[in-house]
Structures are given as C-alpha cells and as structure tokens.
C-alpha cells in the first residue's frame, strides 16, 4: 500500500519540480537583469550620480536668468594612472539653460602611448539628471602619445528644471588607464610598463 502510494506520488512531483526549477533559473537571470535595471533606475532617479553617457541636445535650454548655479569641476587621475589631468576652470556660475564650454587638460607624462577613459560622477547625485552634456571628452577614450598634451572640451548646460534645493553641482572626473583594455598594439614602450614585475 505504501508502495503504490509512492509510485503514484512520484510522477506527480514533476510539474512542481519543473515550476520550481523555472523560478530558480529565472531568479539567476534576474540577478543579471539587476545590472541593466540598476542603470535604468539610475538614469531615472540619479541615485548613483552618474551623468548620461550620451550627448544631450539643447532643446531644454531656456535660460532662466533669475537663478544662478555654481558648477564645480574636479579632475583626478586614478592612483595607477600617471597622466596629469586637471580642469582649466575651477568653478563657474551659470544660469540654468545657459550653454557653457569649459576645457580640461590632460598630459601623458610617461614615455609610452596610453589610452585614458574619464568617468564622470556628480554630487549631489540627483543633480546628475539635470546636468546635460552636449559634448564631452568622457564619451570617448583618449589616446595620447608620450608627452602629448590635450585640451579636452566639455559643453553643457544645467536643466532649468533643477529642483530648488540644489545651488551647487560638483562634476568630478576620474581618469582611468585603459591602455590594456583598448589597443594593445599601440603600447609601444621605451620603458616597459612593469609587466615583468611579478
């Protein structure tokens, strides 16, 4: 009797097991889906302070002369990035909607051709949604030969819809060494980059 019960019960498990396995696989996929979902969520809410990686258009640029916003510019080469990298302008005051052009300076002080990538971040994070960049060096990687200096433009405006509580926006760029990740053939070096260290 117990036998028959087991033998009847056993095949009945399959539909349920299948459903549970589907849930398991779906949740594994969901873990990965969190990556693009997070990006979408950040684009909507600005929770991580990242500005859009796409060029903005100037259609929202109606100048609001009544308000003045301080925009601060920061630039930092990451610790393992030997380039010099700094903004030409420390900070400017802008009216929302006013299109401004500022420059950043980068210099490859090493003896090798290197590739850099600037990654933007804005504080306060939510203000990132209202900082519209029409042209930015951060949209692309920069390749500098040994000793080369480059003036890099940033054209932007602050969206007039910026909420009242924000009076200062800090735009920070961190410059990363992407030489290894981009074109390895251009890493022609007079001095080896320390590859044989370990």
């Amino acid at each position: 009797m117990a036998d028959s019960q087991q033998h009847i019960a056993q095949p009945n498990h399959k539909p349920l097991i299948k459903k549970l396995l589907v849930i398991t696989l779906a949740m594994f996929g969901f873990g990965y889906a969190l990556v693009p979902l997070y990006d979408v969520f950040c684009d909507l809410t600005g929770i991580n302070g990242k500005t859009s990686s796409m060029a903005a258009t100037a259609d929202k640029a109606v100048v609001d002369l009544k308000r003045e916003i301080t925009v601060e510019f920061l630039a930092r080469p990451n610790a393992d990035m030997p380039w010099l990298f700094k903004p030409q302008t420390q900070k400017i005051k802008v009216h929302p909607g006013e299109i401004k052009l500022v420059y950043y300076e980068a210099e490859n002080i090493t003896a090798a051709t290197m590739t850099g990538q600037a990654v933007p971040s804005v504080a306060p994070g939510q203000a990132a949604l209202y900082l519209n960049k029409m042209e930015c060096f951060c949209f692309n990687q920069q390749v500098l030969t040994a000793g080369q200096k480059l003036l890099m433009p940033l054209q932007f405006y602050v969206d007039p819809a910026l909420p009242e509580q924000f009076s200062t926006i800090t735009l920070s760029y961190t410059l990363y060494d992407m030489t290894k990740h981009s074109q390895p053939e251009t890493v022609a070096a007079l001095i080896p980059t320390g590859g044989n260290h370990e």
């Binding site: 991580n48 302070g49 990242k50 601060e72 920061l74 930092r76 080469p77 990451n78 610790a79 393992d80 990035m81 030997p82 420390q90 002080i109 090493t110 003896a111 990654v119 971040s121 804005v122 504080a123 306060p124 040994a146 000793g147 509580q165 924000f166 009076s167 200062t168 800090t170 920070s172 961190t174 990363y176 060494d177 030489t179 290894k180 007079l190 001095i191 080896p192 980059t193 320390g194 044989n196 260290h197 370990e198």
Partner: protein, 382 residues
C-alpha cells in the same frame, strides 16, 4: 573626581607608560560637536529609551507568566488561543510608535543631506591605507598617514595615548563654517568616519559622495576608516583639527606657501646629489611610510598578495633599473601598485629606490639621484 583620576593617570603615566591604556572608556555614542551630531545623539537616546520601554513591558509580562503560571504552582492551563481584538491592538500600537519615531528621524536625515551653501570644500580621497585631503579653494593638498610606530603595534614598546588614532598630518578645518567633504577613492571602498561630526560616508572608487559638518567647538577629533578595505583597514585613522576661522586662515596660507616653496625647491634639488647614507636614511623613512604596508618592512612581501622586493629581479639587476623607476613613478595598472610620482617628491622617490636596491642584502650599490627620476618623469621621451 574625574579630575583627580585624570591627574593620577598623568602622574602614573610618567612612571609607567602603559597606564595610558587606562584611558577613559566611553559607554555611549558621543554627543559630538556639531548641531547635527547633537540631533543624532538625541535621536539615538530616544529610540534607545523607546526600545527599553518596549523590552520592559514585553519581558515584564513574560517573567510575570514564568513566575506565576508555572506547573509547580499547581495551576491549570487555560485553553484560549485566539483573540482578534488583541491581535489588532498589538499590531496597531507598534505602528503608532514607529510613526512617532519616524518623524524626528526624517527631519534629521533631511538636514544631514543638505549640502548646499558650503563655505569650504575638501576632497577626501581614500586609498590603501591612507587618506588624501585636497582643499578645493586653496592650493593645499597632502596625504595623511598613520603615525603610530610599528614597534607599538608589534608590542615592542609601550603604546602611546592615541594609539592607532594618530596621523602625521591631520586635516584642519575652520569652526563655525559649513565644511563640505567630497569623498572618493583610488582603489577599494573606504569609509570616512568622524564620530564627533556624525559623518560617515563611503568613498567609492570612480564616484564622489558628499557630506558636511559645521563644527562648533575647536579641538582635535579622531575617527577611523569604517569599511573593510583590505589588510591594513584597522590602521588608517582620521584626525581632524578644528581651528577658529582666523587661525585656520593663517594656517592655510602658511601651508600654501610651504607647498609652493617645496615645489620650487624641487627644481633646485635636482642638481644636488645625496650621499649613499643620506639616500638610505630618507629611503628607509619613505619606504616604511608608503611601501612597507604591502611589501613588508623586511621587503619579503606577502606571497600571493604583494610581491617581494628582497632578492627580486627588478630590485637587483642593473638592466631593470629603468623598469624599477617606472613602476614606482607610474604604478602598475590593475594592481594595488599606485603611481607614486604624484605623491612623493623626486628626492623621496630616488631615495626609496636606492633603499630598495640596497637594503635586505639587495646590495646592488646603485645610488639613484633626483635628477634621474626627473629625467624618467619628463626627459626620456626621445
């Protein structure tokens, strides 16, 4: 009472340095020295009292039952096991308590996150295992490293009063002004924490965070890195000195001058050659401050994590000298090896390379001068 015990403490510490260990032990969160930190403290105490009250009521009822409703007393168990009324009641009451607690919490939080209209802005950058401070409104920036000697940590000598909470160059801020801290990191996630300001904010690599403090009382305030950041996470303290605005102003002007002078002097130093003894002395000091955390004071590294310098090909063969200079100057991408070209002076780099090539039986006899570093940094692009 407190005065006498402190007096006794100082007296004793003159006799036995160890008694510094008998530092006063605080048992509660600090009230701090900013309006915000006071609010946070009040909030903390309020919730603590609410929790204690809830605990008293619940545990009181429970212990009453334990004492009185026990079989040993010959009681007959009741059989009730449901009451919708009671269930609704003890769902509703906690909700009310929570709402009451949420109101002040929300107010304080909104005040804490309002970083607008700051008068001084400082960029705080964490890296394994030190802090870097850069004043955005003044040409002043510097690294701040743990100042406690290794010998104290290894229990070779008695520990000082501010053991593990002391740095070589503290951050200096003005009192009475809103100071904004921008946090970021060069490598892993760190967290900049000064309990007296109720400021704890993660420094995330590639991103900036912000926080602020308006300090009411001049003084020295100590904190630590709060986010596990690798081997020496416990050894990267934060020390902040709050000075009166006038004092701060003169301090920062002086710093700006000194830093400008040091830059100018660096050019002059290029023509000056260090002797081997000078280079080794400066090199050892620099090595212990910047390199020994990973490569170890004995140069043996940590196998599997940080490469050894003692007896390594790079530090012992003449053909590798250029590579050695390059890795110290420019770092090694994708590893914990930073580019020290921007952190150390030319002379320090020259000295530390000399040290690494001659200490721990590496005896190459190489003496590297600042001019060579300068050349590597700028000149040898031909």
């Amino acid at each position: 009472m407190a005065k006498t015990s402190r007096y006794r403490c100082t007296l004793l510490s003159l006799l036995f340095v160890e008694t510094a260990a008998a530092a006063e032990l605080p048992l509660n969160m600090t009230k701090g020295v900013t309006d915000i930190s006071h609010q946070v403290y009040d909030l903390h105490m309020t919730i603590l009292y609410v929790c204690c009250a809830i605990g008293l009521v619940v545990f009181g009822a429970m212990f009453w039952a334990i004492l009185h409703h026990r079989k040993a007393k010959g009681v007959q168990p009741a059989q009730f096991h449901e009451s919708t009324k009671v269930e609704i009641l003890w769902t509703a009451i906690p909700v009310v308590i929570l709402v009451v607690m949420a109101i002040p919490a929300t107010k304080t939080l909104i005040a804490m996150e309002d970083t607008s209209d700051a008068e001084v802005t400082i960029l705080v950058t964490g890296s394994q295992w030190k802090w870097h401070y850069k004043y955005l409104d003044y040409p002043v920036e510097y690294y701040s490293l743990l100042a406690t000697p290794q010998k104290q940590i290894q229990n070779k000598i008695a520990k000082g009063e501010n053991y593990l909470l002391e740095v070589d160059r503290p951050l200096v801020i003005p009192t009475g002004k809103k100071v904004r801290f921008l946090m970021t990191s060069d490598d892993v996630i760190h967290s900049w924490w000064v309990p007296a300001f109720a400021v704890k904010k993660d420094a995330n690599p590639g991103y900036i965070n912000e926080s602020w403090a308006k300090v009411n009382v001049p003084g020295i305030y100590r904190g630590q890195c709060a986010e596990l950041c690798g081997k020496d996470h416990g050894f990267m303290p934060v020390v902040v000195i709050a000075k009166e605005p006038a004092e701060f102003e003169s301090w920062i002007q002086q710093q700006a001058e000194t830093q400008a002078k040091a830059k100018a002097a660096e050019q002059e130093l290029l023509s000056m050659n260090m002797t081997m003894a000078e280079a080794m002395a400066l090199g050892e000091k620099t090595y212990l401050g910047y390199c020994a955390a990973c490569h170890q004071p004995g140069g043996q590294g940590l196998p599997g994590a940080f490469p050894a310098l003692k007896g390594s090909k790079m530090a012992t063969t003449a053909t590798e000298l250029a590579a050695h200079i390059d890795i110290v100057l420019n770092g090694k991408s994708g590893t914990a090896m930073q580019a020290f070209g921007k952190q150390l002076t030319l002379q320090e780099i020259a000295a530390v390379i000399t040290y690494e090539r001659n200490a721990w039986d590496n005896n190459t006899g190489d003496l590297v001068q600042a001019a060579a570093i300068h050349a590597a940094k700028t000149g040898n692009k031909e």
